[in-house]
Symmetry: D2
Subunit: 252 residues, 4 copies
């Protein structure tokens, strides 16, 4: 599995203290615990400051799972890149969107949603696992302490998740659908709420475990070949050939 | 629409102070605000103490929507009645299960679930509406104060709801899928968390509004005739008659 | 309820024989059977040829349910109109997309999907109702003859429906998720497969019944006021005021 | 992963010609292609004729995934075994129900459904993959020839699947939700339509591939310890201890 971690990497440059808890930035921090996973053969990082935002088409084609973190520079991500990411997800690439990525062009494009929510800084949060049978919940307790985090509250402007795995509780009286999974075309998407740049969630053992599980879960099952347009609507024939069992055994 | 409100009606007799906030008992209280609804032609009440628990087959057949409240006497509800209610729901009768009904034989039978959860008395609760487009959320604010209520916490032993409409927040650090909707056969089911006998939720204007909306939503759309067994697996023919558009116009 | 029927109205002008089975065009045909519905106070029609495609903002604001039919001129619908329709749906307007509207900019924008599928002209179709408890299936048989129709086949490039109500069968060996419902923001969307310009489906009594049911089902439950941006992410306070039951009674 | 294949094994004894295409019976046939899978450490078979139907509690406790095939002897499966299987699924054991198992007590108990459907022998079937991103669809074509099989038709008496992966097409004008996945408690369930005793589907390469994928997918992620009752509703405390990030690092 080849993974690419994308980070806008702007906060890190304006508030260098972030580097004290996230050495090298959020992207390098996430890359370190994804590298540890079995079956991960390559982890790349990419940032807004790189040519093509670090995501030229050959990198996207060579990526099975894309992680996305952005916040203050969403608008600086080129629309053509957003379309290329969308097309790649529909063809099968997995996508994991973290925290403030809920307003990224990529998240909004892939789900057709607004991604809007209500928020406040630094209240105390807990997370409840409501779908313990889901692979992304593997090894995660039924409820656990997130600690001080940026608080997100409902209504969250998303399509009803295909699978709602985690619900967050916050001191401020908020609940939040913190861990949501969707199937889109040949791709899978997971959104996870923790990860504010001035908190420590990416160093939280269970946040790391959830993101590792998510990386495994969104990995492609069937990929549409790049030669085939995701927009194609082929004409088919009015009839089909009925096959004998012997022909079936030969064909498959 | 004909509605029947079922209540085990045991707490009311042991703790008569309940009658001071719920005159006549929980069943009479719910009946009063359901009677007010447009399109409701008849509201019956039924209790554990009545012959056949107040639900002989002719009453079930004449019921479009059944409300269910129970707590300490779940085990006293006869299994044959549970089977009759199950069969009636699958044929189209709507079912609204309230509060501690999560452990009723009827709820567990209709969904095949355990209904288990975690609980504590009397903490402060709020409710968040996460599906504002749902008919059961009509006229309900995005978030609202439930006040002091018996607290329920996850994991809630239910199938993933077809529609998760409300999520509860409680002071004790719990979240709960407070308002859940399911489709089963020709029937629809709604579960709503508020309604402990020693709190006041059935006098809460928004709790009443949610239950009124639920009564409308679970009302039958298509009913399987009682002559037809819900268990029947009819053999069909190997071919069917292709109809011309003129024949279609005649048939439908 | 105020309904607007949008039709690109191009085929009607190039192949006037369409007007023999759809007098005035597809939009006028749909308008006639929607007008018959109880609770419908106004039905407008709008076409690509009208100023602002017949959908200036004041018309959109005054529309509770929008029907959409398009085929050969999808690309001629201005992007700014598509954004206005998207914003209106998220605020609560219902949307019913018919047949070849699966490739309309509006459908693809609201769901973030490709809308791609496989197709062939004129094979024989049947429709199976797999969710008889859904309001859109009210009065619709378990399986019924669609007759000769343009055939659509899977894979259909849509998000897994929140509710899959109808599945189509076609002589050519295809199945199709013919009737799909989604919740998005405060809005509801229904897609229905029948309705090719050279077939007769809009004169099919059950197709009309399904579209009438859909019009009722997608009607708004809660509308976001136009002053409020669907993109807004308001900051909230770190605490909230706990209310007594007396204060709750006063507030709601 | 430890797998147990359960088969009622009655047809095999009355119609020994079945053994010519399924040597040793359906259970041995399925066992052979499940044994081939990576990560499968043990495959057991169990039949109705064995003591405790081959499923004493120690075998169930030692089973990660249970396959189930039954048809004419559903009623002979003891209710106490059905309850033990139910309890084990809710605690995390995966369940794969095949073909006529749709009427087994186990299937109906786990989902709370009737499992009813319409049927006819021996028409020609095809299968369409409508969820290519799902792990159970890995390596399965978009549409493929099932060949002559017992035909099942809608309405299928099941809860709306959490994930609808395959839809079947049959010559007789039927469609069927052939591949359905559900999450229940800590367990996962998959139902797959092919597998009539007098047809050859368990020798079909793609049917085998789907069942192998399903075995992987339903495997447990989190298991409830047997000491803990699935029915337990523990009381919790009214408050919880807020943890510092340092305490969180120590705890998890």
């Amino acid at each position: 599995m080849k993974v690419t971690i994308w980070n806008e990497n702007v906060h890190e440059q304006r508030e260098p203290e972030i580097l004290t808890w996230y050495p090298g930035g959020i992207h390098e921090t996430v890359a370190r615990f994804i590298k540890d996973m079995p079956g991960v053969e390559l982890v790349r990082t990419a940032t807004l400051q790189m040519p093509d935002c670090g995501l030229p088409q050959d990198v996207l084609e060579d990526t099975d799972v894309l992680f996305w973190w952005g916040h203050m520079a969403h608008k600086d991500v080129p629309d053509e890149l957003v379309e290329r990411v969308y097309e790649r997800v529909i063809r099968g690439m997995g996508l994991v969107v973290m925290h403030s990525g809920h307003l990224s062009k990529v998240f909004k494009r892939v789900l057709g949603c607004t991604g809007s929510l209500r928020w406040v800084d630094n209240t105390y949060g807990r997370i409840h696992t409501v779908m313990p049978s889901h692979p992304i919940a593997k090894g995660i307790p039924e409820h656990w302490e997130l600690g001080i985090e940026e608080t997100y509250g409902e209504p969250f402007g998303i399509p009803q998740p295909d699978e709602l795995i985690f619900i967050g509780w916050f001191d401020s009286g908020e609940v939040f659908r913190s861990g949501c999974a969707w199937y889109r075309g040949n791709g899978k998407i997971f959104y996870f709420q923790p990860g504010h740049e001035t908190n420590q969630s990416f160093n939280h053992p269970l946040v790391r475990k959830v993101l590792q599980n998510a990386c495994q879960w969104v990995a492609p099952c069937n990929v549409v070949p790049k030669e085939r347009s995701i927009w194609a609507c082929p004409e088919i024939s009015q009839t089909f050939e009925r096959k004998t069992f012997e022909e079936i055994l030969k064909e498959y």
